[in-house]
């Protein structure tokens, strides 16, 4: 067989059922073989979206999603998606075509040094020089992407290597890479120290991050919280670690978080960080962590320990395993949940009132969309005001909340919803975005139609780049520059041009009906929701209610 056939066989061996991509000259041998396989190929309309879809697929399943692009511009278009996946530890294998080996380094047509360009955005990369190496490289790529701290791995394959001969196809079962041995089991001594700290603490708080999903540890987090009666604050990446309405859920922490979660962390005497990198927006710059709070930091990546926060008790390991170990030690249950004395809101429910005439209240809308979804539904949020409104008010039950947390990549929600919908067939998928981010991804409406993927899109249209507008109002004396989105199309008409049914929503009273209609209509659906341009994302404390 040739190299391309071997690559496709590797995908099948890995159990890959869906791949997202966009072909070009140097990846044609691979596509020629992919056509003969059982792998379903989703043709996106821009490579970046193949990367986002594959990343979301990976975040849903815990196994690497696959995206494919050609050399040069195809590969460079993937970069933003790779960086997005890297920041959010999404398992992903990106396969790129490359110019023929003998042309490498000669600035040939559509040549880009993609392994070089992607170096800081991937967990690892391979530039394959010999066809015979392909099975081993593919095996290692999937192994590296899907184990330890998950992340994107790039496999760059020159066209002649795809065409070259693989004499005997052997797919290695085991992988042995001497420089890569992630620690999965927690050190028992540290486990006991963590349990002792938990037993001693009077005001413990769990901070749940994206690692809860990366390690498929949702069950264990809930078990630990319930058994010990420890309240849980979530980072944006950790939203859904506990259901939103679970009595121990404090909501989202950080500079965009809710008052309850932030105050709980400020008052805590023990902060138990589970799979979170303690990013600047979450903890360090928001200044919510007091100096004398003891910190337990559990993460699979040793490089995260002591990077952003000083951890009194560091613990490296796979979260699900570590939490099982902790639970085995039998940490003591606390009495009353101490945060019940903090009478603070965890969301913006106080500001769910009616919007101005001709607009909808975005907080209320977000709550209505998520409440109407089936419990296992998937909600993807984009970046901008819509992300903050969504993160603070989305009602998550057994489903997932996906957003670009680390990179803050606009244009994420629709391709991510495509990837997530295919990863969890039969479950509802919703993409919420603004009119700015919508126009960075609207070409994917075609993908929804072609593949008949029933994503429900809600565009919060306020005619401006709202979050930047807020920054300009607050810090630049209201000098609003380059935030006016006039010239944007009628999005219902645009959806209509693609054959996607659509509706416009501009009255709070009609929110429930509009959401129901979107879900009741088979296939994709777009709802354009009018939001007042002056609407801010500020945390609304009860005494500030009159601001609305």
């Amino acid at each position: 067989m040739n190299g391309a056939a071997a690559m496709v066989k590797c995908l099948e061996k890995e159990g890959v059922t869906v791949a997202f991509g966009y072909p070009g000259a140097t990846i044609c041998p691979f596509y020629d073989e992919l056509a003969k396989s059982s792998v379903r190929h989703i043709l996106v309309r821009q490579e970046q979206n193949a990367g986002h879809a594959a990343g979301a697929w990976g975040r849903m399943t815990g196994k690497p999603g696959v995206c494919i692009a050609t050399s040069g511009p195809g590969a460079t278009n993937l970069l933003t998606a790779l960086a997005t996946a890297y920041m959010d530890s999404a398992p992903l294998v990106a396969i790129t075509g490359q110019v023929s080996s003998e042309l490498l380094g000669r600035d040939a047509f559509q040549e880009a040094d993609i392994t070089g360009a992607a170096a800081s955005f991937v967990k690892h990369s391979f530039l394959v020089k010999h066809s015979e190496e392909l099975p081993r490289v593919m095996r290692e790529a999937f192994y590296i992407a899907g184990t330890g701290r998950k992340g994107p791995v790039l496999v760059d394959v020159p066209v002649d290597v795809q065409n070259g001969v693989v004499g005997r196809f052997h797919y290695p079962e085991a992988v042995s890479i001497r420089g890569y041995n992630p620690t999965l089991r927690g050190n028992q001594l540290q486990i006991r120290r963590v349990v002792a700290a938990m037993d001693e603490a009077r005001r413990p708080v769990i901070c749940a991050g994206g690692g809860v999903f990366g390690s498929l540890a949702r069950r264990q987090v809930r078990l630990l919280a319930e058994r010990c009666r420890i309240p849980v604050a979530c980072t944006m990446m950790g939203l859904g670690a506990l259901p939103t309405e679970h009595p121990l859920n404090l909501g989202m922490l950080g500079s965009q978080g809710g008052a309850l979660a932030n105050e709980a962390i400020r008052c805590s005497d023990l902060l138990i960080i589970l799979g979170a990198r303690v990013g600047d927006r979450a903890v360090t710059q928001s200044g919510i962590l007091e100096k004398d709070t003891r910190v337990v930091h559990i993460d699979i990546d040793p490089a995260e320990i002591r990077k952003n926060v000083e951890a009194g008790i560091p613990l490296v390991g796979d979260l699900a395993q570590v939490l099982d170990q902790i639970l085995e030690e039998g940490p003591r249950p606390h009495g009353d949940v101490w945060t019940e004395g903090l009478h603070l809101p965890k969301d913006d429910a106080a500001a769910f009132g009616l919007a101005r005439e001709g607009f909808v209240n975005p907080r209320r809308l977000v709550r209505a969309i998520s409440a109407r979804m089936e419990p296992e539904g998937i909600y993807t949020a984009d970046v901008g005001q819509n992300q903050i409104w969504s993160a603070r008010n989305c009602l998550i039950r057994e489903g997932r909340f996906l957003t670009s947390g680390g990179m803050g990549t606009m244009g994420y929600s629709i391709p991510a919803a495509i990837g997530a919908a295919l990863a969890a067939p039969g479950h509802q998928a919703v993409a919420v975005c603004g009119d700015g981010s919508f126009q960075m991804q609207m070409m994917e409406l075609a993908t929804l139609v072609r593949e008949q993927i029933p994503v429900k899109i809600f565009v919060l249209r306020n005619g401006c780049l709202g979050l930047v507008r807020e920054i300009q109002d607050e810090r630049y004396g209201g000098n609003r520059m380059a935030v006016d989105l006039s010239g944007s199309p009628d999005m219902t008409a645009l959806a209509g041009a693609y054959g996607i049914p659509a509706a416009r929503l501009d009255r709070d009273e009609e929110v429930d009906g509009a959401v129901r209609r979107a879900f009741d209509t088979p296939g994709p659906f777009l709802t354009e929701c009018a939001v007042w341009p002056g609407e801010d994302t500020h945390q609304l404390l009860p005494e500030k209610e009159e601001r609305l």
Binding site: G116, S120, K307
Partner: protein, 163 residues
């Protein structure tokens, strides 16, 4: 403070640029970097001298350890290391001062490896500060060119930084 970091890496194309790229991306400054094969041809040793505080060194070690092609990382205190560097230095000379330069070289345990009627090329392999000293001593004679390899190091005694 200067730190010497010894890194065992897979001897593969691209690894050197990958590692040096990590330093610049994370804002760590490298003073010197030397790389060569070890007794195992599949493994290279990189010896990196970097300037920074303890936090930086910890971060460097962890970030290096994260790289798949890195097999082992160890930062060793300078007093526990045998450190050596090789330097070639070409200086101007005249018939009159050639003897003087040769004397200095001899005192410094350096070798004259090339000679023309108006230049001398001296080779020295010693601790980095001894190389600095030789440069200072040669300055009066007008240095034409200097080439240094960067520091290499092994631990004193029987301990090793093995795979």
């Amino acid at each position: 403070m200067k730190h010497t970091i010894s890194v065992l890496v897979e001897n593969r194309a691209g690894v050197l640029s990958h590692i040096s790229g990590l330093f610049s991306r994370r804002g760590f400054n490298i003073d010197s970097l030397a790389v060569g094969e070890t007794e195992d041809r599949d493994v290279s040793r990189m010896t990196i001298v970097a300037d920074g505080d303890d936090y930086m060194v910890e971060q460097i070690e962890k970030q290096l350890n994260k790289m798949i092609d890195v097999i082992k990382v160890r930062t060793v205190a300078n007093e526990d290391l045998i450190r050596r560097e090789l330097m070639l230095i070409k200086v101007s000379c005249t018939a009159k001062n050639r003897g003087e330069i040769t004397d200095v070289a001899k005192i410094m345990n350096a070798k004259i490896v090339d000679i023309t009627k108006d230049t001398l090329t001296i080779e020295i392999a010693d601790r980095p500060n001894r190389l600095d000293l030789l440069i200072e001593l040669m300055r009066p004679y007008h240095i034409q060119e200097v080439s240094r390899t960067g520091t290499i190091a092994l631990q004193r005694g029987s301990s090793i930084i093995g795979k």
